[in-house]
């Protein structure tokens, strides 16, 4: 009996000015690519809080792909460099949890690079497919039920910590 191939669920974060436009270009050129990546538009990859990536994995994503303007081309001057820094830290953090770096790809797609967008999506899907489904994350130490929704929205829990803890003051 043939089992159907594993279809990974991947979240793609695209900056509005380059990569989202690159995806539009791929669409206009009618380039076929696998449907596994659900995209989320942000104005700039500088907006991508590492928590977005963690949230995606916590919610069951098998992979994440972050696509921004090429270094030097950022619509907001230099924010994609900040994204690069954050991405490096995020990947290190993920590896601490046993999530391999290959599940979280960073790449650069300009508004003109429809071909590249389609290729990056194909490659990402294949890479994550090869890794197999994301292993279930261990439950939090308090035995809680996955992500506590009360603390996801505005970081108020972290803020309280920030207000009180001695390291921040």
């Amino acid at each position: 009996m043939n089992t159907p191939p594993f279809e990974p669920k991947i979240i793609g974060f695209l900056c509005n000015w380059c990569s989202y436009a690159g995806a539009d270009k791929a669409g206009a050129a009618q380039l076929n690519y696998p449907p596994n990546v659900g995209t989320i538009r942000v104005m700039c990859t500088g907006r991508i809080d590492p928590q977005f990536v963690l949230k995606a994995f916590a919610e069951g994503a098998d992979g994440v792909v972050v696509l921004g303007c090429h270094p030097g081309d950022c619509h907001y001057k230099e924010q994609n460099y900040r994204m690069i820094q954050r991405h490096r830290l995020t990947v290190k953090f993920l590896e601490q949890f046993g999530i391999p770096a290959d599940r979280c790809r960073l790449d650069f797609v300009s508004a003109a690079e429809g071909e590249k967008f389609a290729r990056v999506i194909r490659e990402t899907v294949e890479a994550v497919r090869a890794l197999g489904p994301m292993p279930k994350l261990p439950p939090p130490p308090d035995g809680g039920q996955g992500v506590d929704r009360s603390d996801r929205s505005d970081g108020s829990d972290r803020s309280d910590h920030h207000q009180e803890c001695s390291c921040c003051h």
């Binding site: 995806a23 539009d24 669409g27 500088g46 991508i48 069951g60 924010q79 505005d154 803020s159």
Partner: protein, 658 residues
């Protein structure tokens, strides 16, 4: 909460761009029973005129709390549908678009897979839009007056362009006269026009035309304080005393020869004398002398009043003239402070400052000027005729140890010198030591052609600055050794060497950078918003850049950029129109901000300030562009990125993975 969903077929029935590739009725079935979904309608061409009208009517009739439109790219029609929302009496930010055409229909072959992807994307949008907030533009009153700093070609052009449009301009200039570099040049490349002749009509318009009362000219002045932001800057200008009224002086010049204090003129290389009361140089405008307080007997405590006594217009010379601070409220600032010629004595192998007959380009310009120290004759300091002149191009430019950039004007200036020497000193040979020749454009190349093809000039190419060495013999003659030249051209003896020094950061640029928060880039010039599409704007909203303080260039470019900067100020601040501030910006929750200041340096638009007292960060919505970097940077999570909040993004992630 009732969400209305519109699925655009982008065509008709199941033959549309979208409906042929995605089973839209199946998408509707999957969505219609979701919580918060009030209705889900299929439409044909939502963006067409009929489609827009139908959509506006439908929205006005059903008044959903939230709207999701699945169609093409929001980059194409988000604004279109926001306008429809407004027409229907709804807040435009309570709508979310889903790109089911470019991102799904056109790129997914399998209809079932495309349908499934579309359902996920729409679920995400429905989930997201429930978190949307009604946002509104804020309106601010603004000043339409403009401050222009620097009265060279760029600043003059900017000031006049603004004055012609009826704007009130404050024109601040640190020197006692207008015109910048070119008024000090007798000839201007590529056509050898006279510099003062080119600029005098322009300066005349500033000083004595219908436009003059629109321009508050502040000479001997500098900007010392800037507060506020685009539309509402409060600035302070420090004006040094001139001791001679520019309003009542008739420029007769009677006072100057009477002055007993003489000292060497800086403009003429210290080789002619000037008086304590004198012109900067003859022919500078306004045609009003000024008193140098560091040498004037009266101002140093003596009792000399000779100039005042000789002046035919009573009250014109005033020894009690004081420094004053002028305050202005302006909407925009144009920086046009020019650049400085690089101190070429720092290029040790070229002998400047060591050998008296090695000149930089500005000194040579004065030397051969008709009103210069030798009345235009090309002779050495000890009176010898110059039989051979060496001109070294790129002196300090294209050199990683000095100026890594090309200074854009030195080649043409060297060709101008070539031309002037040919006319003023027939028989003098000119040897050019050059790297790359830069002479673009429809007129400049002709200038190069003239310099290159005549019987008195020679061109020798060198590669590295270290290839050249200037040395002197006992008789005062100079030798330029060029190690990269062919063997027979490695030694050139000459009587004089001119170093074409490049352009670098103007004096005072550092302090202006601190005042206005416009950064200097790694080349030392003011950093523009975009090197191709926005060179006349800085990254600070409302502060514009003109001329060679932004990038080396010629007079034409400076004038053009002056007009461009004025154009930006005119279109940014329109009389009678308030400034609309887009709502998609960041906002700090002041109650929860710990004042750690992490956000402040990550903002390239200087939109975040620290508020002393409560010790919190505050985002200035007039400057924020909504990129969201500070939102992601805040360690306490207390900055909200409007329309891209954590809630909204998390809602999308959750629904996409459900």
């Amino acid at each position: 909460m009732k969400t209305g969903i519109y699925l655009c077929r982008c065509g008709c029935d199941n033959t549309g761009n979208v409906s042929a590739k995605i089973d839209l009725p199946a998408v509707r079935e999957a969505l219609i029973n979701l919580p918060n979904v009030g209705y889900c309608d299929l439409v044909n061409l939502a963006c067409s005129e009929d489609g827009q009208n139908a959509l506006a009517d439908h929205l006005a009739e059903h008044k959903p709390d939230r709207v999701v439109i699945a169609a093409c790219s929001p980059r194409e029609h988000e604004e279109t549908f926001r306008k429809i929302m407004i027409r229907a009496g709804l807040n435009p930010y309570l709508m979310q678009m889903v790109n089911i055409r470019e991102h799904i229909a056109w790129v997914t072959e399998d209809l079932a897979a495309a349908t499934e992807k579309a359902v996920a994307a729409l679920r995400a949008a429905v989930n997201r839009v429930s978190h949307h907030e009604a946002l509104a533009k804020k309106m601010l009153d603004v000043s339409t007056d403009v401050l222009v700093v620097g009265a060279g070609p760029a600043g003059l052009k900017a000031a006049l362009t603004l004055a012609e449009a009826g704007r009130q301009v404050t024109l601040v200039e640190k020197s006692p006269i207008l015109g910048g570099y070119p008024v000090r040049f007798e000839d201007i490349f590529p056509k050898m026009e006279c510099g003062p002749c080119l600029l005098e009509p322009i300066m005349g318009q500033v000083l004595h035309s219908d436009l003059s009362d629109k321009i508050d000219l502040r000479l001997l002045s500098e900007l010392v304080e800037v507060t506020g932001f685009f539309g509402n800057f409060n600035v302070k200008i420090r004006q040094q005393p001139r001791f001679v009224s520019t309003h009542s002086c008739i420029g007769c010049g009677i006072c100057m020869p009477e002055c007993p204090v003489e000292f060497p003129s800086r403009v003429n290389l210290g080789r002619t004398q000037r008086r304590a009361i004198d012109y900067e140089f003859f022919g500078g405008l306004p045609n009003v002398p000024f008193i140098d307080p560091t040498v004037c007997t009266n101002l140093l405590g003596g009792d000399c009043t000779i100039c005042r006594d000789s002046c035919p217009v009573e009250g014109t010379i005033d020894f009690d003239d004081k420094e004053q601070i002028v305050e202005k409220h302006v909407g925009a600032i144009i920086l046009a402070i020019g650049a400085k010629l690089y101190d070429v004595s720092r290029v040790a192998n070229l002998g400047h400052g060591v050998f008296p007959e090695v000149y930089d380009s500005f000194a040579f310009e004065r030397l051969i000027a008709n009103n210069g120290p030798t009345d235009g004759r090309l002779v050495t300091k000890d009176g010898r005729e110059v039989k051979r002149l060496a001109i070294v191009h790129c002196a300090g430019s294209l050199d990683k140890d000095h100026l890594p950039h090309c200074s854009a004007v030195c080649c043409l200036n060297a060709f101008k010198f070539n031309h002037l020497v040919g006319h003023k000193s027939p028989g003098t040979e000119v040897v050019h030591f050059h790297k790359t020749i830069v002479a673009p454009g429809k007129e400049d190349f002709e200038c190069y052609h003239h310099a290159r093809h005549n019987d008195y000039s020679t061109f020798i190419e060198y590669h590295e600055p270290s290839d050249l060495q200037v040395s002197a013999a006992a008789d005062g003659s100079l030798t330029v050794t060029c190690s990269s030249a062919p063997p027979d051209k490695q030694q050139t003896t000459c009587d004089m060497v001119v170093l074409m020094n490049g352009l670098t950061t103007q004096e005072g640029a550092d302090s202006l950078s601190k005042l206005t928060e416009v950064t200097l880039d790694q080349t030392g010039f003011f950093e523009e918003l975009n090197g191709r599409s926005d060179v006349a704007r800085s990254k600070v909203r409302g502060v514009y850049l003109a001329g060679i303080c932004q990038q080396p260039g010629d007079i034409a470019r400076s004038m053009m950029q002056g007009a461009a900067a004025a154009g930006n100020a005119l279109s940014g601040l329109v009389t009678g129109r308030q400034l609309a501030i887009e709502p998609v910006t960041a906002e700090v929750d002041a109650d929860r901000c710990s004042g750690c200041r992490t956000c402040i340096p990550v903002c390239p638009y200087k939109a975040i300030e620290f508020v002393d007292g409560p010790n919190v960060a505050r985002v200035n919505a007039a400057l924020c562009v909504g990129c969201g970097t500070c939102v992601a940077a805040c360690p306490a999570g207390v900055i909200k990125g409007n329309h891209f909040t954590n809630d909204e993004i998390y809602a999308e992630i959750e629904a996409l993975l459900r």
